[in-house]
């Protein structure tokens, strides 16, 4: 799940934390400003960055398509309810938010981004947040997604085999109960490996 193709380009060499900080700063700037010059500038910068990132469109295709639909719908709503100027402003703002973020996604692997997010929580250790526990939880989540997807599919197949149409409750309730059962065995495994003893006294 974490493997993703990222091509080498000028943006690839920029450290992931720096890219994230720039995207957040630009996002905040665009959220509070209504200057079209500024928004247009950020759109241009984002477009150049996205091209420079040499994106694998297969990876970004769905997201870029979703953004395109959101842009068209928003522009249409603004044209109907307000005027062309408002529609242009909305489209510029959304593009200014989306293009730099897409450029970061195209030039950074999920592992690097996960390191940034988990690294950002490290100062919270002083406030009592167990960052090693957070890292374990994230790792376990990634590990169990395919298993739960398989289980949901198995439950739906079982319904079909009985001639039933797939419905929400008959799939969700057993899935929840399996989750709770699995969490019991998983917690026993965590305790058996003395995870908390080792993480608190490395």
């Amino acid at each position: 799940m974490l493997t993703a193709e990222v091509r080498h380009g000028p943006l690839r060499a920029v450290p992931a934390p720096a890219k994230i900080v720039v995207v957040i700063a630009l996002g905040l700037l665009c959220a509070v400003s209504s200057s079209r010059v500024l928004l247009g500038g950020v759109v241009g910068l984002g477009a150049v960055a996205l091209v420079a990132a040499r994106p694998v469109w297969r990876r970004l295709g769905g997201l870029a398509g979703w953004w395109a639909v959101a842009l068209v719908v928003t522009a249409g709503m603004q044209l109907v309810t307000r005027d062309a100027a408002a529609a242009t402003g909305s489209v510029l703002r959304m593009a200014a938010l989306c293009l730099p973020a897409l450029a970061v996604m195209a030039s950074t692997t999920p592992e690097e981004l996960l390191d940034v997010v988990l690294g950002a929580t490290r100062p919270l250790r002083r406030a009592g947040l167990a960052t090693h526990t957070l890292a374990l939880t994230v790792a376990l989540t990634i590990r169990f997604v395919p298993e739960l997807v398989d289980q949901a599919q198995t439950l739906r197949d079982a319904q079909r085999a009985r001639g039933l149409r797939p419905a929400v409750l008959p799939v969700t309730v057993p899935l929840l109960l399996r989750c709770l059962d699995r969490s019991r065995t998983l917690s026993e495994a965590i305790v058996a490996r003395s995870f908390f003893d080792r993480s608190e006294h490395p």
Binding site: S34, G62, M77, V171, T172, L186, E188
Partner: protein
């Protein structure tokens, strides 16, 4: 906090975070047998709050948001990344966190109600968190990002209401069914108290006062340990469920 309780918390949070992600990959769930497809991830958020409780439910959502920020395709339609968070739906996404918290808090009250009021109580919990709180964050965010009038945006958001109302009802019913099953299991096996009242591990002589979600304590201790609810209210919740 006891090591066993901590491990149980980590496992439950991880599994429910994985469940929220997994529900996003199931495209064809149909409500009440009708041909109305539902995006089931909001359902997962409501379920996390209603089954795990406020702290663990919102922790599970926080883990999902960490994965979203790391650009993993964990949202429905294979979406993920900062681009989604800063987009029009970013407010609804970040709103999942307080939504799960509120669902858990209200559900905790709902589980103290007599049996026949539990399903409506849990549905109200899911509505309060999954609809009221989530929309309270999502709609203004949407208006700011698209630079639209707030009233107009709220009008557009009404289109999502029917689906979310159905999800809240389903989540309430599913959570009630899960709590009922857990109550029956604990009655059959060890007699643990529901609602996280804490259990007493007789063999170890140790009292676990930390609530283990709402499932209270589905077999918290080591296999073979005899456990009774703290306060000597054995099987009370299990009996209420019948």
């Amino acid at each position: 906090m006891n090591e066993v309780v901590k491990a149980r918390a980590v496992a439950e949070v991880a599994l429910f975070a994985a469940l929220i992600v997994a529900l996003g990959t199931v495209p064809s769930l149909y409500a009440f047998g009708l041909a109305v497809p539902l995006t089931a991830q909001t359902l997962g958020v409501m379920l996390a709050g209603a089954v795990l409780g406020p702290k663990r439910g919102s922790a599970a959502v926080a883990v999902v948001l960490v994965l979203v920020m790391a650009s993993l395709p964990v949202l429905s339609g294979g979406r993920g990344g900062v681009a989604v968070v800063v987009g029009p739906t970013g407010g609804f996404l970040l709103g999942w966190l307080p939504a799960a918290l509120v669902v858990g808090l209200v559900a905790r009250r709902a589980l103290c109600l007599p049996t026949r009021y539990r399903v409506p109580g849990l549905v109200v919990a899911c509505l309060a968190g999954g609809v009221v709180v989530d929309y309270a964050l999502g709609v203004p965010w949407w208006a700011v990002v698209t630079h639209q009038d707030l009233a107009l945006t709220a009008g557009q958001a009404v289109a999502f209401l029917p689906g979310d109302l159905v999800k809240a009802v389903l989540a309430g019913m599913a959570a009630a069914a899960v709590h009922r099953q857990l109550g029956q299991r604990s009655h059959d096996h060890a007699g643990h108290a529901l609602r996280g009242d804490g259990v007493q591990d007789v063999a170890g002589g140790e009292v676990l006062t930390e609530p283990v979600g709402f499932s209270g304590a589905v077999e918290v201790g080591r296999a073979g340990d005899q456990q009774v609810p703290a306060g000597g209210e054995r099987d009370q919740a299990g009996d209420l469920d019948r």
